[in-house]
Subunit: 344 residues, 2 copies
């Protein structure tokens, strides 16, 4: 290989890599309505549409079994996958789960993992329909593919946001990132002094945000009940800022958000202060919140404000106006794209 | 964990593990026609059915990049996945591909892998519709999910074989296993004496069987053209013997096959002799042939014999008669279930 060019993956990043690898690929099947490039793909089946998404979870990259109970992990991988189905405005229906396992894992350990998976299937009312089981040289590897259904043309991509649309987020942001900081700190203390018990008193919220996230299927159902179809939608897995960049790029628009409109949980703010991290930074750049980010027409505002679960954080502008955040003090800053980076 | 019971995965094996992990799971969705336990799952979409299968490929377990060009690997993982769709008597339509990569892999290397994937998509006339890209602590991990379509009730499971049905296989068996032996031998020689060039003259067939297998979509199409619907079908990825055990178990039947009816390629037989391995053993227990094994009603025999690509190797018996092979010399032996074992 010495004579050949070598480009490191981190030179172009995850999204650059996907773009590079898929740029010349053409669609062959009439039923393939939407392929690579959104939260999920969409397939037409005679007027009813199937939504498909797939995700890979690798020990040491996506989870740390030192502080992640296997049952929670099982629940979390399902939530994370279902979250992408919700982000298309679709109803989750089925999942497949494949696992690669080293001989470190006993049948009892895997049973715990599947207990969590089944618990999540029950919670989201979905079926586990298949998978693959194989050995791995090290660690635990899990691949989940989720399928969902959506009625004709009700699926929502990242492409439809228009100037004047309101930018909405569900729930509260930044908690999972702080849960991770907290558990990493306790792990470090434990490694140095194995006798010390973890200090997680009154930290159930942030730890729960990391270990047992929920896909916001309730928001998808609420939107349907209110007859609101978002103009664009995606889930927030890499931080609000990074996701806004995706929507602005795919919709060819700009955005302005208000720092004081970003929803925080009290405990999250408290933990941020003990770590001396700005809560806003956690929301903008922290990963794994699995909340929904979506845009709606202004005329939907009267309906949206009925929901305590949804916050309007800003509005869509022309592309030329860029991507801005207005701080609590009224200063205008450019949003930074910095999200959760896998390849750094 | 010291107080808890610990069962090693290899004590119960891959199929035992799957059975253990999925035994208590109930189906919730009316659309889920078939879940865990066959080559693929089947989902109903208003009278048209979607077939879903997923597979995990891990470096060091499923492939060795010392002698596997990445482009071939890309082609092979698609073939292997499409093979499971064919095994349901369905038409492949879409795939998702997720990759986990260590920093050993450059963008150029991944481009080669995707060249192979795209080449296979073109060959099988399918779409790549999504995936996930992430870093991995070591090696290359690939997860493929394949979707296919089949008209109502035309899908074929492993459950329908009945006494008197003919047992058919496509193509020739055992070649991939010998390709693996050959490449492993050359790798060993190369490791010991790096100057020595690999001796693969006149071995294109067996090497090709391992490195660039074909899914037998042509057989599925031929069966449809002849209006033959097999009573049971699966693909041969773990050796003929192991697959016959699956069909006999799931259909609650027995089987008798004839050693002299098992189809071999001349080169395969030749290589088997140089390795002093019985060609029949390669066919019965070797992995990765990706041919189709299926059963048909006796009245379909006149049509089946028109195809040079299909061999009738035996017939289905009552469960009580067991699983038998009649040797060239006319002796009757019990078939051994020994297939390709991942957990040994």
């Amino acid at each position: 290989m010495s004579q050949q060019e070598r480009t490191e993956v981190n030179q172009i990043g995850e999204f650059g890599l996907i773009e590079h690898l898929t740029k010349n690929f053409e669609i062959r099947k009439a039923g393939t309505l939407l392929a690579v490039g959104d939260d999920a793909a969409v397939i037409d089946h005679f007027g009813r549409q199937t939504v498909v998404t797939t995700e890979l979870f690798i020990e040491g990259v996506h989870f740390d079994l030192t502080y992640t109970p296997l049952k929670h992990l099982g629940y979390k991988i399902v939530s994370a996958s279902i979250s992408d189905i919700c982000a298309m405005n679709a109803d989750p229906a089925q999942i497949t789960v494949s696992i690669g396992i080293s001989n470190r894992f006993s049948v009892e350990a895997l049973t715990e993992l599947y207990d969590g998976i089944y618990y999540a299937c029950e919670h989201y009312d979905i079926d586990l329909i298949g998978g693959d089981t194989t050995s791995a040289p090290q660690g635990l590897i899990i691949s989940v593919t989720a399928l969902g259904e959506v009625s004709p043309d009700k699926f929502v991509t990242r492409k439809g946001a228009q100037q004047g649309d309101l930018i909405c987020v569900s729930g509260e942001l930044g908690g999972a990132y702080l849960g991770l900081q907290l558990l990493e700190r306790e792990k470090k203390i434990f490694m140095e002094s194995p006798g010390v018990q973890p200090d997680l008193d009154n930290r159930a919220y942030v730890v729960g945000r990391l270990l047992k996230p929920e896909a916001r299927l309730d928001i998808v159902e609420w939107l349907a009940a209110q007859e609101i179809v978002p103009t664009a939608m995606m889930d927030i897995s890499d931080g609000l800022s990074s996701e806004l960049f995706h929507i602005c790029k795919d919709s060819a628009v700009g955005c302005t958000i208000y720092e004081d409109k970003i929803p925080f949980h009290d405990e999250m703010r408290e933990v941020a202060y003990t770590f001396e991290i700005d809560p806003t930074a956690c929301a903008l750049s922290g990963g794994e919140d699995y909340e929904l980010l979506f845009t709606v027409k202004q005329e939907d505002y009267d309906k949206i404000r009925l929901s305590e679960k949804i916050s309007v954080v800003g509005y869509i502008t022309e592309a030329g106006e860029g991507k801005k955040i207005i701080t609590r003090k009224g200063n205008v800053h450019d949003l930074q794209a910095q999200g959760w980076q896998h390849f750094n």
